[in-house]
């Protein structure tokens, strides 16, 4: 019976060939570890956000008078509403952590070098768009935390000369955070950003599959000193087939992701919901402590520390641009083995260490 159904599909789509080419013959490089699967985990995390987001969308009302109440209704009255709301809330934070780990891994593998510059570029762009999605998502429940965090976030660009006020005004739709801001952020969070992220993701994945996964220069040492001059697909004949070997590795990391997610949900369900998140937004009352989300603590602390606001913000902008175009700024003929490149290694580790230090400082200041 099954065989007949499969044969029916086979005659029309040629599924056997597709499975062979893309799942069995597509090989992961020799020595591919669990770290290499983080990109796939990010994809799964994004899908989880999208699915839970759509479920929340069924009951959420994007109007200042009803937003908070609708989220409260979802959390308390709708059966299992709390589950999907918390998964979306906690998942939104985990996805940022996963992306950062993935980025650090790719950086330390120096996998961004030719011919993978576009892959890196789309990756960093996706990261920035995901951060934007987090910013816009914060405002939607219309609680004190989100409202005042948004007020702070949309005021930061205004310190830039000439264009600053304009940017802030566009973000907020006016001089203050109002219902217009909510509508704007809602459309960005639900439609505009997911569409762009999906397009970039497709580009990212198509490139990876077209070029083949990058090797670890430690295990498969580079045969030629300079990178190839024409298109060369890395077939990894000594590697493992994607299905089932590498797929199982990917599945394992996905299970770890879910385990971490539900660990937080069981023991620390309010880890990302401070007490002010249970009070409706009140433009007249500023809560005593407004702090940005943990992934923004470092940039926020940097801006607070550097006495000149314009300098602080420009520094962050320059950092993002450098990060985006790093493959083009990296030494052209340098190899991919980071252990042979102490300068690059120290640069990467210093940036990482600084980011961690500023985050911890931001937490306690």
């Amino acid at each position: 019976m099954w065989a007949r159904i499969i044969h029916w599909i086979e005659v029309r789509i040629g599924i056997e060939e597709l499975i062979n080419k893309h799942l069995r013959q597509f090989r992961s490089p020799k020595g591919a570890t669990f770290w290499n699967t983080l990109g796939f985990v990010t994809l799964v995390a994004f899908i989880v956000q999208a699915v839970t987001g759509i479920m929340l969308l069924l009951y959420y009302i994007p109007h200042p008078e009803h937003a908070f109440k609708s989220v409260q209704t979802i959390t308390n009255d709708i059966p299992y509403g709390w589950l999907f709301r918390l998964i979306h809330n906690v998942g939104g934070n985990i996805i940022v952590a996963v992306i950062i780990i993935h980025m650090v891994h790719v950086f330390l593998r120096v996998s961004y070098k030719r011919p993978r510059e576009i892959t890196w570029l789309t990756g960093v762009l996706m990261f920035l768009l995901v951060l934007l999605a987090c910013i816009t998502g914060q405002l939607l429940p219309w609680h004190q935390t989100g409202f005042w965090q948004t007020t702070v976030t949309t005021t930061i660009p205004s310190f830039l000369p000439v264009i600053g006020e304009g940017i802030s005004s566009y973000m907020r739709g006016g001089e203050f955070v109002t219902g217009i801001t909510l509508s704007r952020f809602f459309s960005f969070h639900v439609v505009i950003l997911p569409v762009f992220i999906t397009i970039l993701m497709l580009l990212h994945v198509i490139l990876i599959r077209r070029q083949g996964l990058s090797t670890s220069p430690v295990i498969e040492p580079e045969t030629d000193a300079s990178p190839p001059d024409d298109f060369k697909r890395e077939a990894h004949p000594e590697g493992q087939p994607c299905f089932p070997h590498f797929s199982l590795k990917r599945l394992f990391m996905v299970m770890i992701y879910f385990t971490v997610l539900f660990f937080i949900l069981t023991f620390f369900p309010n880890l990302f919901l401070p007490p002010e998140a249970n009070i409706q937004a009140d433009p007249m009352t500023t809560p005593e402590f407004i702090r940005p989300a943990w992934y923004f603590l470092a940039p926020y602390q940097i801006i607070k520390t550097i006495p000149n606001d314009v300098l602080g913000i420009s520094l962050l902008v320059i950092f993002s641009v450098v990060l985006m175009f790093w493959p083009f700024l990296d030494a052209k003929d340098a190899g991919r083995n980071i252990r042979k490149r102490p300068m690059l290694m120290s640069l990467g580790l210093i940036v990482l260490a600084l980011w961690i230090i500023f985050t911890i400082w931001g937490m306690y200041s």
Binding site: M55, L58, Y59, D77, I78, P79, Y80, G81, L83, F84
Partner: protein, 136 residues
């Protein structure tokens, strides 16, 4: 191979359990709960409330006041003050509703006239027949 087969079976079993553990809540999620109303209707006789007076009743565990406004007819408003929850009273000499806790004042439509409340009193639907008022 036996071990692998065992693992594959366990994976299938656990995987199906997980799937059901998400599909069940998701399907319940799609059905919003019914509203918590026990008394669906409450009937009062019109002559219990002469014009210019009001009657305090309890409907669905909520204290309401039904006012016979001179010239504008009957209205049923929740007595729960939107400020902190005290019960407002009908002031027939001044045609308004007053909250005794912090002097919040409301007009006979429920709108805030003065005081700390920022939202109007909740209005309840009522139907008027020949000599009866039905609430709910």
């Amino acid at each position: 191979m036996e071990r692998r087969q065992l693992l594959k079976t366990s994976l299938a079993f656990l995987g199906t359990t997980t799937l059901i553990s998400f599909i069940y809540p998701a399907s319940k999620f799609l059905v919003p709960p019914k509203s918590r109303s026990k008394d669906t209707h409450l009937i009062i006789n019109k002559d219990e409330i002469p014009p210019g007076t009001a009657k305090e009743i309890i409907f669905n565990e909520t204290p309401l006041v039904v006012i016979n406004r001179k010239g504008s007819g009957f209205i049923a408003l929740s007595r729960i003050c939107p400020h902190l929850g005290c019960l407002v009273g009908y002031d027939k000499f001044n045609d308004k509703l007053v909250c005794p806790c912090h002097a919040g004042e409301f007009d006979l439509e429920g709108n805030v006239l003065s005081g700390p409340a920022t939202k109007a009193l909740l209005r309840y639907p009522l139907k008027i027949n020949a000599d009866q008022i039905t609430i709910g």
